[in-house]
Amino acid sequence: MFDLISGNQMIQAMDLSMSLASKRQTLIASNLANLDTPGYRTRDFSFEGAMKSALAGQISPSTLAATSPRHMQGSSNGFLPPTTDALQPSSERNDGNDVSLDRENMLLARTQINYQTASTFMQVELRKLYTVIREGVAH
């Protein structure tokens, strides 16, 4: 019965999108906290790239080894996107730090919107299921 949720591709994709967005937001927080740290390099990954490769099944959603067919598979929350993209163009300061306040601020807003969009779509999808459960009776 819970296939309704775990088998729902929309909810799966939105779950992935939210995980990636919050992971990216963590890196943006890290970049902004280290705005004045000498030698710090911007840490980031490509949201689109990570999303594509995860949806193509290149990354296993679970980091746990399943040694028996009866083992449950973990959720997608634990996985990490593969690698960081080099910043183009990089604008390094005299102290070796290349964090750009404008870029990070823009990404902060954009990632927040990505997250909220995913969460709204997931809500819409869950509402559909709820309508089905209530047999279409309005509440």
């Binding site: 937001q25 963590t26 906290a33 004045d36 902060l108």
Partner: protein, 139 residues
């Protein structure tokens, strides 16, 4: 849970920038101080930032920031000829701290902008957490 990590990282950034502003305040307040506990005029202080590993595992580990050390300036003191001053030497010269108000103000602006950047991260993470919570209210 990525969102609580975002709060942790942003708070390390805020704490570090606040300490930096404290040091600037101390520098400005003591720009004419000729007597200190260590003896001699006040010496300018500045914070040195360093990334702080908050124990978040992963290929793309995000990092907080911490103040690695507080550096005391070793620049020569400013001298002024004031024979009536109680701290004047035999030639009537008084040594004053080598503090450049313009430098301190630029530093202060930079620190408060960095502080604001961390606040923006907290605000964004809060909005994200609220939108995730709104998934629960589907009915």
């Amino acid at each position: 849970m990525s969102i609580s990590q975002i709060f942790d990282i942003a708070s390390t950034g805020m704490a570090a920038q606040r300490l930096r502003v404290q040091l600037i305040a101390s520098n400005v307040a003591n720009s004419e101080t000729t007597r200190t506990k260590e003896g001699g005029p006040y010496r300018r202080r500045d914070a040195v930032f360093q990334t702080q590993d908050l124990g978040f595992a992963g290929a793309l580990a995000s990092a907080g920031v911490r103040v690695a050390s507080i550096q005391t300036s070793q620049e020569p003191f400013l001298t002024r000829y004031e024979p009536s001053h109680p701290d004047a030497d035999t030639d009537g010269v008084v040594k004053y701290p080598n503090i450049n108000p313009v430098e301190e103000m630029v530093n202060l602006t930079e620190a408060s902008r960095s502080y604001e950047a961390n606040i923006a991260v907290v605000r964004s993470a809060k909005t994200m957490a609220t939108s995730a919570l709104s998934i629960l209210s589907v009915q």
